[in-house]
């Protein structure tokens, strides 16, 4: 019954170990992630699902008290979190220059002396991906050339997803053409609120097709869905339509990633896996800012899904400011002194 950490570790090493030097296929870091084949829409898999808010909150509220990671273990876990970060810039003032700076940080997220002190100099960690708007994919791909770090692009009328479907699909194709290895699509929330499951399923299927080889990460916009039941149902439909990842939020809703929403999505993901044998990744995004947040989500992943979901092929964290806090924590681990942000490179 017990998951053997050793076994799962050997089947999915950290992605950076396998990062090839060429960049012809941006999706190479997914080498160990078999894509989700999806299924026909099966309403009976989710229509009667029940999610009790208070019970969900109790689980997430106590989780932080049930597990804790200290000292060297904590340092390692923070490195792991860093490797799972989709380092993100999604702002109106993004420019190629801004993206270039972010890419440089993605390549070397931790100061070399700290990497050395952690004993990781032979394979310095990098972040999981860099996530940008479609028009910034080109500059990002260029800036990350040779790093093995994939570029993820939001698409489909981000953040609301309310532009015409043709345009949304065209946006995906554009980003893929520009070299994006991952597409973070937004679902049409009105279809969830109106329970139009077939329409939602068909749209996501079309998006998956438009993605071609690029992996599809479906952003549910859970802050707009509001109820955990809707979150579960939307997760299921997105997975049936072939999403490789399900992601909580755009970062632009009033409420972004929360632990109860994440737990509900993970439970859907686990149920989907039981029903199909497929492994789907999870990406919380928006509102995760601190190293402590990173630990909470890693613990949630390990407890609910097991060791296998602690790798960037199945877990990403959408964040921008979290990295700086992780760096400071790692410096503290190495030096024993509390660190200043100004001692670390800007993202």
């Amino acid at each position: 019954m017990k998951t053997s950490p050793k076994k799962s570790a050997s089947s999915s090493k950290p992605a950076v170990d396998d990062a090839p030097s060429k960049i012809s296929l941006p999706a190479l870091t997914h080498a160990h992630h078999t894509r989700n084949a999806g299924t026909a829409l099966q309403l009976d898999w989710f229509e009667t699902v029940q999610v009790n808010l208070s019970a969900t909150e109790r689980r997430t509220a106590t989780l932080g008290g049930r597990r804790t990671v200290k000292k060297t273990y904590q340092a390692a876990w923070l490195v792991k979190a860093l490797q799972c970060i989709d380092l993100t810039t999604l702002a109106g003032d993004d420019t190629p220059g801004r993206v270039h700076r972010l890419a440089a940080k993605a390549r070397r997220p931790i100061r070399a002396d700290i990497v050395e002190a952690l004993g990781l100099s032979d394979a310095p960690p990098t972040v999981g991906a860099v996530c940008v708007y479609p028009t910034m994919v080109g500059p990002a791909v260029k800036a990350l050339e040779g790093s093995g770090i994939p570029v993820a692009s939001v698409a489909t009328g981000f953040p609301t997803g309310l532009t015409p479907l043709d345009q949304r699909l065209a946006e995906i194709r554009y980003a893929v053409d520009m070299g994006a290895g991952e597409i973070d699509i937004v679902i049409n929330r009105s279809q969830v609120l109106r329970q139009e499951w077939t329409a939602l399923y068909d749209e996501i299927c079309a998006m998956r097709e438009a993605c071609g080889p690029a992996h599809l990460k479906a952003i549910l916009g859970t802050g707009d869905l509001r109820t955990l039941r809707s979150v579960y149902k939307a997760s299921m439909v997105a997975m049936m339509a072939g999403s490789d990842f399900i992601k909580t939020s755009t970062g632009k809703e009033d409420v972004n990633a929360t632990l109860p929403v994440s737990l509900t999505m993970l439970r859907a993901l686990r149920d989907y896996g039981d029903l199909t044998g497929e492994k789907v990744g999870f990406k919380p995004a928006g509102g995760l800012k601190t190293a402590k947040d990173a630990m909470n989500w890693l613990i949630l992943m390990k407890e609910e899904l097991g060791r296998e979901w602690l790798e960037p092929n199945l877990f990403r964290i959408g964040a921008s400011s979290m990295l700086a806090d992780i760096e400071r924590q790692l410096e503290h681990f190495v030096t024993g002194r509390y660190a200043s942000a100004s001692h670390h490179a800007l993202a």
């Binding site: 570790a9 999610v51 200290k70 000292k71 060297t72 390692a76 004993g119």
Partner: protein, 798 residues
Amino acid sequence: MPTVKEILNTMDYGPAPEADSPVREWLDHHRDGFRHYIGGDFVASSGGGTFSVANPARGEIHATVAEGTAKDVDEAVKAAAAAFPAWSALPGHVRARYLYAIARHVQKRERFLSVLETLDNGKPIRESRDIDIPLVARHFYYHAGWAELIETDIPDHSPIGVCGQIIPWNFPLLMLAWKIAPALAAGNTVVLKPAEFTPLTALAFAEICSEIGLPPGVVNIVTGDGATGAAIVAHPSVKKIAFTGSTDVGRIIRKATAGSGKKLSLELGGKSPFIVFEDADMDGAVEGVVDAIWFNQGQVCCAGSRLVIQEGISTRFLEKLRRRMATMRVGDPLDKSIDMGAIVDPIQLARIEDLVQQGVAEGGTLWQSDCELPSTGSFYPPSLFVNAEPASTVADVEIFGPVAVAMTFRTPEEAVQLANHTRYGLAASVWTENIDLALDTASQIKAGVLWINSTNLFDAAAGFGGYRESGFGREGGREGLLEYLVPNAERSLLPAHSASTPKLDAAPHLGKSVLSVPDIDRTAKLYIGGKQSRPDGGYSWTVTAPDGTALGEAGLGNRKDIRNAVEAAAKAKGWSGQAGHNRAQVLYFMAENLSARASEFTDRLRSAGHSKEVATSEVETSLRRMFYYAAWADKFDGRVHATRSRHLTVALHEPFGVMGLVCPDEAPLLGMVSMVLPAIAMGNRVVVVPSSTQPLSATDFYQILDTSDVPGGVVNIVTGARTEVSKTLADHDDVDALWYAAPRAEWAAIEAASTGNLKPVWTFEGDRTDWSSNAAAQGARFLRRATQIKTIWVPYGE
């Protein structure tokens, strides 16, 4: 320590030990042995004896404590008794300040107390830190509030005196708080004995009492084993016993206190159901199971140890549960990433192992987490028997360990039937997203605490306590506080008079020949199930006036008549389910019909020797009392407790079910009316043993019942020799509660006989009660004694 690179592969949690050096230093400081806390001083055992206390996770002795002798207990009780007059006379506000200081100091020492609790008990630091100790502080805050409010909000009550309190080892400091906080708030003083396995936090608490300057003798802590507890129970100056522990010991205490007049509250064992309906949040319910049976290593009296799962989802549910079991971590309880710590003692571990082996031997299918267990100390893995049949031992007895049994049901009716199929009635957990089903199930389950879509929720503002053999009395809330107060009315008694138990003569009574046309002979029968019936034994006795004049004959009821009456009462369930308004109408109608026949009843009382004024007044007061309880029938509301946010916490007043009412010889009509009316107004069905000396008012009364639409079986009347038929009532396992309003000398036998099903028995001196006085013989306190509180927790949110 592995390297960062290695950990990046394993992603293990690694060790996360809570530092324990401040507590170890404290233990070291006390290495010569801990002492009792008596009269504000720390004193050694008068016998010089000590016993060892072990850390169950490491299997090593970590303290020596004083062995409490009867003399130690006597000293402690004397200190408490000496402190009582001043303490109880303090303004509530002053007591509130002391309780507030205790709450504050518990918070200031929160980590110290958490670590100490974990060292002594073996429970995970996560639980002592996040659950036990915060609840301890909360309990003292809450009761600091009551100390402030009692004078104005609960008037006409006074403290009881010295309270003896005996607590278990599963939540050592929390149980202490549940006992001491309300006792002190109400103005009592206490002698508390912590469990012999886990006395240390109580002794640390004694130091806190000293630290805040609590007056000497208000709190006394005596350590020891069962013999020490027995000395507390037996001490004549102890006026109340509060006990939390096993049902077996509860029985011993009930027996030991029988006839003593000590107030008693018992919080005992359980085998609580955890019901999962097919429309439940399954993953939520799986986590619920973890919190229900693997919380505190399953050593929880209200643990949800019987999983009752709807058949259609049981396979999927158990699959999810099994997967969840695999992530449970058992080990050093001081490690912050541990779900289950150590079983409190090797003796308990052996008991759990034996029961599990027995379950396997009886054909049970056992699942256990294959988590690693430490090589030393008392540890046991999370365990589950699937497909357990109710007939198996493990499905029936309280294991008091991390072992659940799972069984399936088909319909909601069957779920309730399985849930109630137990001698216990402490708690239940019900999982469904259908509020109708949730509340319907909650209303039918016989338990003191109901958790909807949740489990093991506690708060100082909510009552906690059981139905049936899980004990009686509540802890927490206003209802818990009332266990430590006495209504002043109960203390104002008429002077004692020599009431001898009448001898009922079954032989023909010689009389004079009647020369004129004789009255038509009347036959008073028993009244059972709405029908008049002859006594089973075929005997009658002659009822006489005080001057010896024969007034008629009454049936001499026996055991079988009581059995039949209880059966009839048990069947009349419909009455308990009626709306208060409907019951009120019946009660008003009784008054209407009694009023129409008032002169007849007055004459009957006069024939029994009452003056005209007294007889008229007794009938008139009976009418008023009927109106009084008819008025209450739809107004004795429950409460909504202010516990946690978004947790509707409702305390319902539920009838016991079948009550035995043994009425006083005095006031043959009014005494009976004063007892029957509150009981049936609340929805109980009753078996009445009327006045032994003058039962004919009662037998006349069944004609009132017949004409007032009182459903058959709601009121049953068995005339006869009081002490004999009452004993059958007292030891009858289907009688849920008993009132006994007769001379004190008779109490011991009745209370001792009640231990079979541990029914609450209210004994009071009916012979010294002024039944004509509203202050003495009517009031909401009668309704409180006619009901038990069911607390239903309904967390909500969308």
